[in-house]
Amino acid sequence: MSVHNLTNDEVGRYGRQLILSEFGVKCQQQLKSSKALIVGCGGLGCPAAVYLSAAGIGTLGLLDHDVVEVSNLHRQILHKESGTGVPKCKSASAACSGVNSLPTYREHHVAINSTNALSIISQYDAVLDCTDNVATRYLLNDACVILKKPLISGAALKFEGQLTVYNHEGGPCYRCLYPVPPAANTVSSCSESGVLGVIPGIIGTMQAQEAIKVLGGMQGSLTGRLFLYDGLSFTTRVVKLRPRQPSCVVCGDTPSVTELVDYLEFCGVSSADDKLSLNKSTGMSRISPTDFKNHYRDKSKRHLLLDVRPCHEFDICKISHSINIPLNSLEKITKDELLAKISQNAYSINGGDNSGITSLQSNAGHYCLYLSSWK
């Protein structure tokens, strides 16, 4: 006689993991009765979602405010070319349903914030942080501590990945490790720094693994340890983390953060997508592509276009007659050296006057070359 609630179809489908003694019927049933929320249906969220779905999660919440773009497809593997413009949560849900129709899928086409986080997260047993910005990471951490939910946190950038489980089995939370948020100008995003598609694929897959262990009640979760992956040199490390901090403002013995706060303000930044708006507060002037195009075509207005991107980005595309001095070179160069380099560009200085450079300033990681009166 059967003593479990798995159907014959489920036994057939999950047979290869049911015969694992460490997993078995008990974990499969626990997984079936569990609800997991994936926040961010991008490079990390896609593999995490499909493996949780395939493994037989009971309910899978898919949260993302964004829609699919072509530039997502090299790493966000559940989305399709034909699905550009479709909300990512719907695209991911459809793909997962195609793999396994048994779980319940909930689509949350919203941006998670301090107002809605608690009501959404309270519907789930665990959260997978598959987001792309610091503010949301602190938000999810605090919400999970307040609601006593484990947080399976993954991150990927360039060739590197990081993975850990917070707020589980007495382990530390994100704030125990990083009580102070990083300065805005030290945070890099995939759109700025790049990412090899398989890196979030590897980390997101491992997030699903850890979620299965946490929700299935298995031993050996990554709580209290941080997995570091470097795909370029193929180096892996697991670092033992400091334990939960009694002084932690959110999970400590006498927490001062007992409700969600304004995380954009706390981190001093907005989400990765809005980062360009920083320039407004730094007083730097910006020029729109249209204005620049008009300026560029107006022969009476001489100008120099200095492209400070790295050489390999300049190689991808450039505006004709621009000159490339990468930012890290520009930081070390003297004004005279800079002028000498510019004067090598005949087009730029044709009839020009080098005294037009008035200052070279840096602020919050953005460099501006102030040019005036290139007559």
């Binding site: 990390l44 990083y178 102070v180 030290t186 470097d230 040199s233 490390r237 670092v239 400091r242």
Partner: protein, 101 residues
């Protein structure tokens, strides 16, 4: 038995006794230094705060991320509450959080 002896037994805890230690750099720390590892000089025994100050003094390009790193010695976090003992062959990791995905 190895005939190699380490000087730790005879010259222990001498603050002038500096040793070269490999520092592994991750994420933003790697970007800022431009290498994935570097060597710095440290005494065999040092208070936690002095260790932090010494690391960021020798790797001054990391100043901007000083408050947001996890420091690990031989793949284990460094306790703030007790003096840190360092020996030849040890590695210190400077880990900065990645937030994108």
């Amino acid at each position: 038995m190895s005939s190699t002896t380490t000087p730790t037994n005879t010259k222990s805890n001498s603050s002038s006794d500096l040793i070269k230690i490999k520092v592994l750099l991750f994420a933003k720390a790697r970007d800022l230094v431009g290498e994935d590892s570097v060597y710095i000089s440290l005494p065999r025994k040092i208070e936690y705060q002095e260790l932090v100050n010494s690391i960021f003094q020798q790797l001054s390009s990391l100043e901007a991320i000083k408050k947001t790193v996890v420091l690990a010695l031989n793949e284990e976090y460094i306790k703030e509450s007790e003096p840190v003992s360092i020996k030849e062959g040890d590695t210190i990791a400077i880990i900065t959080p990645i937030s994108s995905g």
